[in-house]
């Protein structure tokens, strides 16, 4: 039997995983997470998948464009602001 103090729940483990990314776990917490991941396949998947998400997010992009009306409005705004008063 593992001592009770080394056991963490899945809810805690999934939180620890985010903190681990930023090296914000104490040694005791790191040990607890390590032991939990040894026995919990679900949290292990969560761990892999959240790392994967972090990589994926960086590739996020959009092709959105301003309409020509929006651009004309911006140009007029700049024109007004730069013309001598």
């Amino acid at each position: 039997m593992m001592p009770q103090t080394f056991m963490i729940t899945c809810k805690e483990a999934t939180l620890y995983i985010s903190k681990k990314e930023e090296h914000k776990l104490s040694i005791a917490e790191r040990v607890k997470l390590f032991m939990h991941l040894l026995i919990c396949g679900f949290c292990k998947l969560f761990y892999k998948q959240s790392r994967y998400l972090a990589i994926e997010i960086k590739h996020l992009h959009t092709n959105a464009e301003l309409s020509s009306t929006d651009k004309t409005n911006l140009e007029q705004l700049i024109e007004r602001e730069t013309s001598p008063k």
Binding site: A54, T62, E75, L77, E79
Partner: protein, 190 residues
């Protein structure tokens, strides 16, 4: 002298930078009108502070710096009005965990059967990812975007949003649970 390279040419801003600035903003604020307002505010702030431009950085980078600050101001206002939702988040992770705080059967993570080290490049995947991000509560989306799109550390995010670190971790934890589950349903096990 490099004077000619780094001078401001406001009459060319719209042509040269407006779409790039707009895309940057719209990815981060998830609302076209807000993004347009931010671009307008950026140009206005730039025009009113031209004397502060000393040419150490390019005109483009200077405009981006202003826009980034405008986005942070926008985030901070949102965060202060939304922070009360954190208490509820703390209480109810019951979609994912049972009374003993272990995974509910209905929420068991599935293996995505993908190479977890190689990102999916397809446009459709990014569309789904964007949709899932937009389903997060606004506070979750802001925190997640700052952390992973802008690659900031949690300490910096807490400072910029003026939230406590315990609130930050609650929001981040929930954002990941929800995003993971959404992507699994809409893409990986579809």
């Amino acid at each position: 002298m490099t004077q000619t390279e780094n001078t401001l040419k406001p009459k060319e801003w719209v042509k040269n930078y407006s779409d790039t600035l707009y895309r940057f903003a719209v990815l981060r604020v998830n609302d076209e009108e807000t993004a347009k307002d931010l671009i307008q505010e950026t140009f206005l702030a730039a025009l009113r502070n031209t004397e502060r431009f000393r040419g150490e950085i390019s005109e483009k980078n200077w405009l981006f710096t202003i826009l980034k600050n405008k986005i942070i101001d926008h985030y901070r206002k949102k965060a202060s009005s939304l922070i009360s939702e954190v208490d509820q988040l703390m209480e109810s992770a019951s979609e994912y965990f049972d009374e003993e705080d272990h995974w509910k059967e209905s929420a068991y993570p599935n293996d995505w059967k993908t190479d977890y080290k190689a990102p999916v490049e397809s446009e459709e995947f990014h569309e789904i990812l964007n949709k899932c991000l937009n389903k997060l509560s606004e506070l979750m989306r802001i925190v997640f975007t700052m952390k992973y799109l802008d690659e900031k550390e949690s300490d910096e995010i807490c400072k910029e949003l003026q939230i406590s670190s315990s609130n930050y971790w609650v929001v981040m934890h929930r954002a990941k649970l929800q995003l993971r589950s959404c992507l699994e349903k809409k893409w990986f096990t579809k």
